[in-house]
């Protein structure tokens, strides 16, 4: 982290943490099963799945839009239970389900709004209220693919990047 980055992060009172206690499951709708999948999601999570780049808190799961007809389900990891297995059962025949807990690294940036460095660093508009609580974007920063969402309660941002890019992404994140 550069000194400038340190300064900016410190100045904003932002704190960055890696989320290590979670299970991440990638869910993709089967062809033609979207409506039925939403019904199943309503039953299991009390909500349909987001159709636009949004993130929803649904009980024990955070559901993040991850592309057309695709979502990441983020849940607390629990010994002896595999959320991806449970999701596969819940969505049997309606969606394909893959455990990607070790595929992606998640970072949380606690901040009530975007810092100047975050605004500058993102290739999409983050200034003021352009990126609202609950918004999701799949983009890249500094040659690194990243998903970012603003926590629905407005308390911060989360970033997901491929695990082997996390070292470099952490460097970048140090600046924001």
């Amino acid at each position: 982290m550069s000194n400038l980055a340190n300064g900016l992060a410190a100045g904003k009172g932002a704190s960055i943490s890696e989320r290590s206690d979670i299970a991440v499951t990638h869910v993709a709708a089967r062809r033609g099963a979207r409506a039925a999948l939403d019904d199943a999601a309503r039953t299991a999570f009390g909500t349909a799945l987001p159709s636009a780049p949004r993130v929803i808190e649904a009980g024990t799961a955070t559901i993040v839009w991850a592309g057309p007809d695709q979502w990441l389900f983020i849940e607390k990891a629990q010994a002896g239970s595999d959320p991806s297995v449970k999701l596969a059962a819940t969505f049997q025949g309606l969606a394909s389900v893959v455990d990607v807990s070790d595929s992606r690294t998640l970072f949380r940036l606690a901040a009530s709004g975007p810092s100047e460095a975050l605004i500058r660093g993102m290739g999409i508009d983050f200034e003021h209220n352009s990126f609202k609580p609950g918004d999701v974007a799949i983009t890249h920063v500094s040659h690194l693919g990243v998903m970012v969402w603003r926590l629905p309660d407005g308390s911060g941002y989360e970033f997901a990047c491929a695990r082997t890019y996390a070292r470099d992404f952490r460097d970048w994140l140090g600046k924001v």
Binding site: S2, R30, S96, S142
Partner: protein
């Protein structure tokens, strides 16, 4: 000793006299003030001679006060931070600034190469083309070094740049480029309406001409008014103010490139502070308000230090409080410049003459001149500047031909104004000639762009303010912000008449059109005589407008002169469209932080730290670092290590990290159909719990990638790609899924990073893995035969996958666990394997073993080979269609004479083989005509005790036993080789099915 600032004028200027700044120029110490540029500080100290010209080494001074400066280029800073061709006119003065003049030898005042001026016939237009044609060998040895020595700009630093550079993004509703009266009004109006506004100015101070000209707005001085507007803008949360920022290019869809000079105005950037930042600005609307640039009139010796644009004279007086001379002659063709006499008088400079090319000056100007006792020449011209290293007089041809020599040390010249419209032409817009202004004005504009003020050809202050306000309101309204009032402060009207005048006839000395590239009026005439008449030819033949200033002060003059010579109109002769960048941009800022180890990301495998502990040597593979080999103490060289690794794998067991393989989950009810269509072989027939080697082609029939497919359920496959093609294959599969066969029910999940995967190979591989996998999984050959796969648990409950795959030709397995457990699994494999003599092996041993087995790798999948070339033609199914099937049957690709993969060994078994060598008949000449193929992969085989190679050879199968020459022209080696089967080791494959 510090020189006194004897040309500083008391009571004038915006510099901070409470903050003196020391600096040196060519080693001589001087003092300036905060708020100075290097140019203004030099002038304050009476220094006009600042450089030598490009070709003729003529003494040069300061022509302008802005970024268009052609002459005052210096080397700034020293050592690793030395920066050539820095324009003194935009270099903000800082304490300790250290600048040197450039292109002088041995010193600025005594330049021996100024003799080039006497050789000017050699250096005239087209000299490169005419003079240095023969003999060719002279070019490199003599001409080029000579020209480089004699002609040139500054010297770049010869050490790596120690500074950091940043990149940043910004989004706005309205981008305002330029902060003169039009830009400020535009920004203010748009900002007040609530639009998100970015205001950029290349200068360190906002205000443009308002801080350089003596103006009054609403009872305030120009600079006071600027301060009040900037204060309001700074207070608004929807405004981003960006001084020291140059928009260098306009790109499609409202995208702009800009460079912010964050720390160019300090000696060394602060800790962690970037020197410059590259901004990528996305603007829904943009307003170009970059003002205008004054153009000189071309006359004899018009490049002498002391000849200065009239607007620059006013800048130095009003903004910097510097008198650029003691006695001035004003030479112009327009009202605005003629009014410079007011500023000169105010600064205490004697105005010896006002020379105007127009036959009749406006009475108001004439009266003013008379009041100050200034001699007026109407319908007259300065034909030549007198003096060597500094102007000492002006030779004036009066209306009726009489010649008057007037003593002066400053000639303030103006040929009118060119709207500063470069940015409007970056996307192909063509400027239009406007006769009444004798200037080009912006033509068709890119979507979302408007132009206001002098940049639009509206030169009066009143018009600038008015147009700025209107442009600001319109741009905001386009974004839905309608509450802005477009009213502008009223100011007095002014005279802005101009009469076209480009160059003076009857000059006795060289008259320069392009001062930076030393292009003279005679060069333009020569180009015309020799037929280079279009503006593009003129430019290339004479180099007019091709220097670092891109002809900002010269293009229109050159064009007008050519128009005169060809008796055509200016618009018929050409236009002055520009391409980005508007000003030179350093490569450092374009690279940003992506250099050195940050050039690209580095991907590490889950057991990287473990490998490091073992002393592994790493190699880059795409973005990955992979363990190449694991040297043991006492091993003399890498070959010793690799030989040991290979022999251990083939006799005991070895573990290789193959986590870098691309991995994709292919799910869905149509996954099997889908895979049949993308692989050449059948995947739908693959049983659950089985894997199969597969090859994908490009649609043109060439091999794209290979890997394995494993089937874990009816609707669930897992496929691997080569390390380097992972992203390309996913993109291809997504195209197939979304575009070619959108009706198939298939979902793709890239999971390369999910799994840590290890190849466990060697006769004891099963023994080792039996200790790793959890019961009751049965790893026996019967229960888990060659090409089986399973989802299991390992190490006491860790989710795992196991595949019976072999790249080495040995009994082998690949075992995968979620990445977080990769390090643990590697350590366990090593500790549990101790009793079987297990070792880790790297990519080098992996490569040796695959060549020993004749398996293809990246060198064979090289983008020119088909499945048949690779000896895999029989794999292609004839029962189905697949990508690449039809075109692979083209005669050219199906030709049986195409070079096929085959093995080679040296006839002399001690000889070394070389990859890249070409096969030539052993009695044939080593020429292209006799080329029969080439070697792709070579290795020393520790099992066979000699080098072996794979390569492609025409009609290969029929030529086993034939002796050929392997010619390596790069190393100058020729080796006799024998054609052999590519299965060098265990050709029956007996070892892998046990």
């Amino acid at each position: 000793m510090t020189q006194s600032q004897s040309f500083r004028v008391a009571g004038l200027g915006l510099v901070d006299r409470a903050q003196p700044l020391d600096f040196t120029f060519d080693g001589v110490p001087y003092t300036g003030f905060a708020g100075d540029t290097l140019a203004s500080a030099l002038l304050a100290n009476g220094v006009h001679l600042v450089g030598r010209s490009f070709k003729y080494h003529r003494p040069r001074g300061i022509l302008t006060a802005g970024s268009e400066e052609p002459n005052a280029l210096v080397e700034l800073r020293s050592g690793a931070r030395r920066e050539p061709n820095t324009r003194a006119t935009v270099t903000e003065l800082y304490s300790g600034l250290d600048a040197k003049s450039q292109n002088r030898f041995p010193s600025l005042s005594l330049d021996l190469l100024s003799i080039n001026g006497l050789l000017s016939p050699v250096f005239s237009a087209g000299f490169y083309y005419k003079t240095f044609m023969w003999p060719a060998s002279f070019w490199e040895k003599l001409y080029e070094p000579m020209i480089r020595r004699a002609a040139g700009l500054g010297r770049a630093a010869d050490a790596p740049d120690p500074d950091i550079y940043d990149k940043a993004n910004a989004f706005c509703d309205v981008l305002v480029i330029g902060s003169g009266p039009a830009g400020l009004m535009a920004a203010l109006t748009a900002a007040r309406s609530g639009a998100k506004v970015i205001l950029v100015d290349e200068n360190f101070a906002f205000g443009g001409r308002l801080i350089s000209d003596w103006r009054t707005i609403e009872g305030k001085s120009g600079s006071e008014w600027v301060n009040s507007v900037v204060t309001e803008l700074a207070s608004l949360p929807n405004v981003r103010l960006m001084p020291r920022t140059t928009v260098f290019g306009a790109y499609d869809t409202g995208t702009f490139g800009a460079v912010e000079r964050v720390a160019d105005h300090v000696a060394v950037p602060g800790p962690g502070q970037p020197r410059q930042t590259l901004w990528h600005i996305v603007a829904k609307q943009s307003i170009v308000a970059q003002g205008s640039m004054e153009r000189p009139i071309v006359f004899g010796n018009n490049d002498r230090p002391g000849v200065m644009l009239a607007s620059a004279v006013r800048s130095y007086i009003n903004r910097f409080g510097v008198a650029p001379g003691r006695t001035a002659v004003v030479f112009s063709n327009n009202d605005e410049a003629a009014n410079t006499i007011d500023d000169l008088v105010r600064a205490g400079v004697t105005v010896a003459a006002l020379v105007d090319t127009r036959p009749m000056l406006p009475p108001a100007i004439k009266a003013k001149a008379r009041k100050h006792g200034i001699r007026v020449f109407e319908g007259a011209a300065v034909t030549d500047a007198v003096g060597g290293q500094r102007v000492s007089g002006a030779r004036i041809a009066a209306a009726y031909g009489s010649i008057n020599n007037i003593v002066c040390d400053l000639i303030a010249v103006s040929g009118g104004f060119n709207p500063n419209l470069q940015v409007t032409t970056h996307l192909g817009g063509r400027p239009q000639w406007q006769e009444s202004l004798a200037a080009f004005v912006p033509g068709t504009l890119p979507k979302g762009m408007s132009v206001a003020g002098a940049a639009n050809g509206s030169f009066s202050l009143a018009a600038c303010l008015r147009e700025g306000a209107r442009a600001g309101a319109n741009a905001a309204a386009a974004g839905g912000f309608n509450n802005g009032s477009a009213s502008a402060p009223a100011v007095e009207d002014e005279l802005t008449e101009v009469s076209a005048f480009w160059h003076v006839d009857g000059a006795k000395h060289k008259a320069f059109v392009d001062q930076q590239n030393d292009v003279t009026a005679a060069d333009v005439r020569l180009a015309e005589r020799e037929g280079f008449r279009s503006v593009e030819h003129l430019k290339r033949y004479t180099t007019l407008g091709m220097a670092t200033d891109q002809g900002k002060t010269s293009n229109v003059n050159g064009l007008a002169m050519m128009a005169e010579l060809t008796k055509k109109s200016i618009p018929a002769t050409g236009t002055t469209a520009a391409r980005p960048p508007y000003v030179p941009v350093s490569l450092g800022v374009l690279a940003g932080e992506h250099r050195g180890k940050h050039f690209k990301p580095t991907r590490l495998t889950p057991s990287h730290d473990w490998a490091k502990e073992q002393g592994a040597v790493f190699i880059e593979a795409g973005l990955w670092l992979r363990a190449q080999y694991f040297p043991k103490p006492g091993e003399a060289d890498w070959l010793t290590t690799v030989n040991r690794e290979v022999k251990t794998v083939r006799s005991a067991v070895g573990v290789c990290d193959v986590s870098t393989l691309g991995k994709i989950e292919v799910h869905g009810t149509d996954a099997r159909k889908f895979l049949d269509r993308v692989y050449i072989n059948m995947m739908s027939t693959l049983g659950v719990g089985k894997c199969r080697y597969g090859m994908m082609l490009r649609e043109d029939g060439i091999a794209m990638d290979d890997g394995t497919a494993a089937r874990f359920a009816d609707d669930r496959y897992f496929i691997t790609t080569t390390t380097v093609n992972a992203i390309k294959v996913l993109q291809h599969l997504e195209l197939c899924r979304q575009w070619h066969w959108p009706d198939l029910d298939v979902q793709l999940f890239p999971v390369s990073d999910q799994w840590a995967q290890y190849s466990v190979a060697g006769p004891r591989a099963r023994d080792l893995l039996a200790k790793i996998v959890d019961k009751p999984f049965d790893i026996s050959n019967t229960a888990f035969p060659y090409m089986a796969c399973a989802e299991i648990t390992a190490l006491g409950g860790i989710k795992a996958r196991i595949y019976r795959l072999s790249f080495s030709g040995e009994l082998a397995f690949e075992i995968a666990v979620p990445a977080r457990h990769g390090d643990l699994l590697m350590r366990k494999l090593m500790s549990e394997g101790k009793e079987f003599g297990a070792i880790p092996y790297g990519t080098e041993a992996l490569g040796v073993m695959r060549i020993e087995k004749g398996h293809v790798g990246g060198s064979e999948l090289n983008g020119t080979t088909t499945a048949a070339d690779l000896g895999l033609g029989k794999m292609a199914s004839t029962k189905k269609d697949f990508v690449g099937r039809v075109l692979a049957q083209r005669p050219g690709l199906a030709d049986p004479d195409r070079p096929r993969l085959i093995g080679f060994r040296p006839v002399d078994r001690t000889a070394r083989l070389r990859g890249g060598a070409h096969f030539i008949g052993k009695d044939d000449q080593p020429i292209a005509k006799n080329d029969q193929g080439y070697m792709t992969s070579v290795t020393y085989s520790p099992m066979l005790g000699h080098w072996v190679g794979l390569g492609f050879l025409a009609r290969a199968e029929a030529r086993i036993g034939e002796i050929l020459s392997a010619v390596d022209p790069v190393r100058g080696e020729t080796t006799l080789v024998e054609v052999v089967s590519s299965a060098f080791y265990d050709p029956e494959g007996a070892r892998l099915r046990v």
